[in-house]
Symmetry: C2
Subunit: 296 residues, 2 copies
């Protein structure tokens, strides 16, 4: 994408962010939000391009990328302090895309505890979709994600928000929250960006997971819709590659309900440990009913 | 208040409501929301006037009253089906105030459950303030209130919202939610409207509660800041009047943390049973530090 917008405006204050977005709206632009935790790679950068493209189809758009490492989605056992960051590098990469009008990088977003227990205490839970998959080993993760995203929505007041489908469960949780709480925001799920060899763009992912998912999809499209057989194959493939599966689940795409048979649009979601690194990946499969009817 | 606005516009659809509010904003008006469950009395009607007055101080305002009996704040043991309603009467009363531009009365607000567990599943909890007081005997109540109010905020997108301070804990829960989730909405707590004899405007309230609260306030301002003594006196007064106290609590105003001594701005909150009717009331007391310094 050619650099046309130049340097994005860097905004650190909530009120200034909201005022900026309202000015863009008053100018007749749609506002598109891309929430990130920074340390950006090409997968993130593609989200901004998706936001610009999706919105510009219906008129001018101002893309806002937020960079904020959200403490509430880390458990006490998880290492928030060592989460990587590189704000200067992030700003340089975003400027180079030419697609980003503003970067929102607040130093903090939560009220700190004061006297009388007055700290942050409001939490949003998406009670079914937050369970299972990554929610099983990270019980506070989606509560933290839903809550910080709602805060960002109320600060930026975007018309559009873009989430990567690499974090499949997160994307579905956000879609469900937006529906249930009536946010006036279109959520766009951006396709996974992969390296030439198929590796999902992430600092922690493994080619073997992707290969196992592609093989599973091929098997499913060739008629094997038995979820357990497919899952067993993935577990075995990853074990042979030196990984240990945390979970592999085959779920109905929208509801994340487990499927015994892939007889409707399905997603295979995998998390696995390779040494001390936990990797996730997923693949969507548009399977059909065995009677040959339309997909649901 | 003189009738100037005439008949309010009656809106039942979410998208139509949001579009209506956005048009008012585009005209340069602030939008003020007054959420109710209908069956309006003068206490409710005063909220609309408060909204109009508060907003008009800084420019023109469009007041929206919502009427929706929120099922999610009723427990299965509580009687949602017999909650009183009188929409025609409500509309007549609101038209007579001349202060209300629109009435939002949706037939439903929650997604119904479909296949694959796709019904409403997103809940907002204000984890400390929802506990104690009315939350002790009504454990899902404030979860339901916070969630439906967030939905109404996202549908109407108001600049201002008005809540009656008769429902003291509810008002504080909403203030905390708005702070924690960064809603761009000014919350106004409207003072309790009372009959000439001091009875709070409610179909279910009792003069004896109000009298006991006024006596307690007098005692506190005369120097008795021992919460337990004040509470014992209220329990005894209400027992003599034939009531049975569900709770009487003396709390710090903003945090709702219990106070042993009323040495800072306090609220006394009471719930009591008179026969099969549960009544609530409260009073605020601006007490001072015993050292004669400024109040906190």
């Amino acid at each position: 994408m050619a650099a046309v917008a130049g340097e994005p405006e860097v905004i650190r204050d909530k009120a200034a962010m909201r005022a900026w977005a309202r000015r863009r709206r008053a100018e007749g632009k749609a506002v598109a939000l891309v929430p990130t935790m920074g340390f950006l790679h090409d997968g993130h950068l593609s989200l901004g391009s998706v936001a610009a493209a999706a919105a510009s189809a219906s008129g001018p758009v101002a893309v806002v990328v937020s960079i904020y490492v959200n403490p509430s989605q880390f458990a006490p056992t998880e290492d928030l302090a060592t989460y990587p960051s590189d704000l200067a590098g992030d700003l340089r990469k975003l400027a180079a895309t030419g697609a980003v009008a503003a970067v929102f990088c607040p130093p903090y977003l939560y009220v700190r505890a004061g006297a009388g227990g007055s700290g942050h205490e409001t939490w949003i839970r998406v009670e079914r979709l937050e369970k299972g998959l990554c929610g099983s080993s990270r019980p506070v993760f989606f509560r933290g994600v839903a809550t910080v995203v709602a805060k960002l929505f109320n600060i930026v007041e975007p018309d559009i928000a873009v989430f990567g489908k690499k974090d499949y469960q997160q994307w579905r949780v956000i879609c469900r929250m937006v529906r249930d709480l009536d946010f006036a925001i279109d959520i766009i799920g951006s396709e996974i960006v992969r390296e030439a060899d198929g590796l999902a763009m992430s600092s922690r992912n493994a080619l073997s997971i992707h290969r196992s998912l592609v093989n599973a999809k091929t098997a499913a499209l060739n008629g094997n819709n038995h979820s357990q057989q497919i899952k067993d194959q993935i577990v075995q493939t990853l074990a042979e590659a030196g990984g240990q599966v945390d979970y592999v689940e085959i779920v109905e795409q929208e509801s994340s309900v487990a499927l015994e048979r892939m007889d409707r649009p399905a997603a295979i979601c995998v998390a696995a440990w390779f040494g001390k690194v936990r990797l996730i990946d997923n693949i969507e499969i548009q399977t059909h009913h065995p009677d040959g009817g339309a997909s649901i």
